[in-house]
Amino acid sequence: MAEAGDDARFLAGGQSLVPMMNFRVARPRTLVDLGGCDDLAFVRRDGDRLRIGAMTRQTDVESNELVREFCPMLCQALAHAGPLTVRNRATVGGSMANAYPLAQLPCVAVCLGAEMVLQRPGGIRSLCADDFFVTAMVTSIESGELLREIVFPCASPRTRQAFKESGNHAGGTALAIVCGCADGTDVRIAVSGVDSKPLRLRHVEELRSREPVAPANQHARYAKELALVLLDDVMKQLGT
């Protein structure tokens, strides 16, 4: 990767990058295949944290007992993340690094305040999900850096989590996503679809307002309408 410089891309599950290469939109000169990096595929409990390796396949995460117990929102979200054949190949890290504004996992990461662990030769740094996602298809990953793992806070037995999305088709791409997590009075809500990246809705969390946010553009106008409906469902499910 260091040799290839800026024209290189890491290839994780290839479920977004390869179609973009087919469209000739992405044109990396060098691909560094992470497929053989088994040490990047894991789900581990680390105290009150759940550490998921970037190369863990989405179906493996979805069916993982630890994830089911300590981060159920992730399982709900993954059920929407494309057809099973795609999820068999797609990875958790790949979806995060791709930063598609309507992907399910970035919204979950922002909602739960996940920690994104980046590795470079000789060093590691962590970013919170809010800072990791910059805008559509852009993250804070710098040249030569690799997203190594994603660290989620573990849900306690009294934590409630909810994930809802709405789109043009059952099983198709979402137009709006709302997810929420409530632990007593600590409520966290995130929305995707109204802006170029997932947003935390702090004013909603503090019950000051039910309006998600002003839509970023004309296209997001309908997404905002959907988000409002989803938000009601999520709040109901969280019991707030």
């Binding site: 469209f23 043009n168 088709h169 059952a170 099983g171 791409t173 309908y222 309408e225």
Partner: protein
């Protein structure tokens, strides 16, 4: 071995190869050694002056065999002039490679031929061009404005076809109508999006001078005649082969510039040349459809009886008229379909086809039917609402019930069952129950219910006279079939059409089996090969069974007569007492007296102990042409019941009933399949599909991310029943398109019905009705 009968729900004979992956589509065809591959360089501007094109870098790129621009083929390929000089038409020309002007994003600047398709695509990016962008018009309102940018220099008003009609005394009758209602309807442009995009290949044999063309097309014979015409070749030197085709839906009923270019390149280069389109190019260049505007006014009595209709139709045909249907296909088809199944005696219309800087349009399932019935059925519901008469009752009062009936445009409906079909569909869907549910619904519900009815006619199987009357001179109109019993008793039937997955081999096999008694496994159907099949028009406009089916019946009947004569000699009986089933000729009433088809064939071909009697010729073969005198009118009733989610505008169809009349069915399972598929496409046209251009003519729907299509989970259960009149039991009517023609108005009317209580002021007068549009309508606007 048992023979199959017409009317049996026989399993599809082509599914074995299609489902097991042994079928060869265009991309699978091996065109021979040294095959080269094509990538086209498309214009990125909707309208521009071409200053220069520099192919130096591309020509020097890895694997490149040739790069062609307009000048390379100027003397070899005639410009396409799709229309003939006839009243109402203005002829425009299209150069297969743009010379000094490009007219839509996707117009072709250059053709790159390389040793593999990826290298061709790489090299295509190296073609450099200097384009001077010019102002573009993309919609008909702009194109019809007095100072509008011209698309073709020779057409100052951008109108390339205009037609009109006025029934005697129209003005006075219309003015005297007790009530009048007017409305403007706008329907978006759509794309067929066949599973397999387009593609073609060609190989020139320098020794024999024969040019073989493979094309993913619905019209092999028209490809042959068009290539001959535009490349200055003899038709006898051209053979067009159609491999398996993954859907056409009318989009592949055009002859495209790429077919001419690939043929010319193969001839020039002396190596086989192949082009396989990708989805992006499909969205840029494959013929799109619809894109109509209607201004209509209907006159009616206080009892809701339709008196008169006045229509002004404008159709956006894109940058060029397409081969072979030209500019008038939709513009002329729309008003001609408007009277539908109703007793409309006074009618006036004007219709225009307008050029714009967008992708050329062409045929797509239903052609103008779905939109013109969206308009007509929409007006009937408006009359019903204004007079507070139930929509079903309004239709009862206006449907044609006495046959034969000649409509206001002179089209004869020989027979039909419009009203009984409506009554049956109302029962199937429990219409009164649906109305009660609607009435009893509490205002606080998050959902609104709506019911929509559509009764439509489908003009199927148009013959030569209809096409000539419409100015579509390139369309032959007839079909043909040859049937040959081989010397071993197996059967080969060659039909002038080509299949795109609809099951031709199955139904044609059933016809042959029914007539000759040959078991299906001993019948081979040959289509899509101009060297082996007799001349014909092609597969579109619901022509397959209505026309080619009749040609095949005729040929099979001739062969059967000869077989009966030979069998009568073997069985020592009268030829009139011979019947054919289960692989044998039987003496009627004496089943033990029989001769196999092989025995009969061995006599006919003199390959056994016997030969034909004196005066009986050798062989067992017949060729028949069939040209229907006019058009066969099929019909259908669709009723859709929907739930509309008020907060999201999402529409869910909860009940769907169809009663259809396609006369005598050859295979009811395939008929159901035609109807189901067409309804799904109609559902897409109403709820999702929209080709979008920005005001500079840049296409915004260039992949299936932007262009929404229905998927499995969007499709509802449907109840489908056949019905026909007594006379209709003997007629094959087409059934490929009635499904979409009725689905569009039925679903749109159901949405309008749901909205009528919520927002009485809004008018459902646009397509598509996406969830976001519906949500706007729930809130009272904005409208088109």
């Amino acid at each position: 071995m048992k023979s199959a009968r017409i009317g049996d729900p026989v399993l599809r004979v082509e599914d074995e190869r299609l489902l097991r992956g042994t079928a060869a589509f265009l991309d699978d065809v091996d065109c021979g050694q040294g095959s080269a591959h094509v990538a086209f360089v498309r214009s990125p501007h909707a309208h521009a002056h071409v200053r220069s094109i520099d192919t130096t870098h591309a020509a020097g790129a890895k694997g490149v065999i040739a790069v062609f621009v307009a000048a390379d083929f100027a003397a070899e390929i005639k410009p396409i002039a799709a229309d003939f000089a006839a009243p109402g038409f203005k002829v425009t020309e299209r150069l297969v490679l743009a010379m000094d002007r490009v007219r839509f994003v996707g117009d072709t600047l250059a053709m790159v031929v390389a040793s593999d398709p990826y290298l061709a695509a790489d090299a295509a990016e190296l073609v450099e061009f200097d384009l001077e962008p010019l102002p573009a018009v993309t919609d008909t309102v702009a194109a019809l404005a007095s100072s509008a940018q011209r698309v073709h220099e020779s057409i100052p008003d951008n109108v390339v076809f205009e037609g009109a009609f006025e029934s005697p005394g129209f003005a006075a009758i219309h003015a005297a109508a007790e009530h009048r209602l007017s409305e403007r309807f706008v329907a978006s442009r759509v794309s067929a999006v066949s599973m397999e995009p387009r593609g073609c290949a060609a190989r020139f044999d320098a020794g024999t001078g024969v040019l073989t063309i493979w094309s993913s097309t619905q019209v092999p014979h028209m490809v042959q005649t068009s290539v001959a015409e535009h490349l200055g070749m003899r038709e006898s030197d051209i053979r067009v082969l159609v491999p398996e085709v993954g859907g056409g839906f009318g989009m592949k009923a055009n002859v495209y510039p790429e077919e001419l270019l690939v043929a010319a390149a193969a001839r020039r280069l002396g190596v086989p040349v192949k082009w396989v389109q990708d989805r992006y190019d499909d969205f840029l260049t494959s013929a799109q459809a619809r894109d109509h505007t209607y201004e209509v006014e209907v006159g009616f009595t206080r009892d809701g009886v339709l008196v008169s209709a006045l229509a002004d139709v404008v159709v956006n045909i894109g940058a060029y008229a397409s081969l072979p249907f030209g500019s008038s296909l939709e513009a002329n088809g729309a008003p001609r379909n408007l009277p539908g199944p109703y007793k409309l005696r006074n009618f006036k219309y004007r219709t225009r086809a307008v050029t714009t800087h967008t992708c050329p349009t062409g045929a797509y399932r239903g052609v103008s039917g779905p939109l013109v019935f969206f308009v007509m059925e929409g007006m009937l519901d408006r009359i019903a609402r204004q007079l507070q008469i139930d929509p079903a009752e309004i239709r009862r009062r206006n449907l044609v019930t006495d046959f034969p009936y000649v409509n206001v445009l002179g089209l004869q409906y020989e027979e039909g069952c419009f009203l009984p079909a409506l009554e049956r569909a109302l029962v199937m869907v429990d219409y009164s129950g649906l109305r009660k549910r609607q009435k009893d619904q509490p205002k606080s519900d998050a959902r609104s219910y709506g019911v929509g009815i559509a009764v439509v006619t489908e003009q199927t199987g148009m013959g030569a006279s209809r096409y000539k009357a419409r100015g579509l001179f390139r369309v032959p109109g007839f079909e043909s079939a040859s049937v040959r019993v081989e010397s071993d008793g197996t059967v080969t039937a060659c039909i002038s059409q080509a299949a795109q997955g609809q099951g031709h081999a199955t139904v044609f096999t059933q016809i042959v089996s029914d007539y000759l008694g040959a078991p299906p496994e001993q019948i081979r159907i040959v289509e899509g090969d101009t060297a082996r099949t007799p001349f014909g028009t092609g597969t579109f406009a619901s022509r397959g069974m209505a026309i080619a089916g009749n040609a095949l019946c005729g040929a099979a009947k001739n062969v059967r007569e000869k077989m009966a004569r030979i069998a009568s000699a073997i069985l020592e009986c009268d030829a009139g007492d011979v019947e054919f089933r289960d692989g044998h000729a039987h003496v009627v009433g004496v089943p033990a007296m029989r001769a196999s088809l092989r025995d009969i064939a061995s006599v006919a071909y003199s390959v056994g102990q016997q030969q034909p009697r004196p005066r009986e010729s050798h062989g067992l073969e017949s060729l028949e042409y069939y040209d229907p005198p006019s058009v066969v009118v099929g019909s259908t009733v669709h009723i859709a019941s929907i739930e509309l989610e008020r907060r999201t505008g999402k529409v869910r169809i909860d009940r769907y009933a169809v009663v259809h009349d396609c006369g005598r069915m050859i295979n009811p399972t395939l008929v159901d399949g035609q109807i189901q598929g067409a309804i799904v496409q109609g559902l897409g046209e109403v709820l999702m599909e929209k080709i979008l251009y920005d005001d500079q003519g840049q296409p915004l729907t260039i992949s299936l991310m932007e262009y929404q299509l229905p998927r499995c989970a969007d499709v509802m259960p449907m109840s489908i029943e056949p019905m026909h009149s007594e006379a209709g039991a003997h007629v094959f009517k087409g059934v490929g398109e009635s499904g979409i023609m009725a689905a569009v108005p039925a679903i749109a009317n159901a949405i309008a019905d749901a909205l009528a209580d919520l927002s009485p002021e809004v008018s459902v007068n646009q397509l598509p009705l996406t969830a976001s549009v519906v949500l706007d309508l729930v809130r009272g606007g904005p409208q088109c």
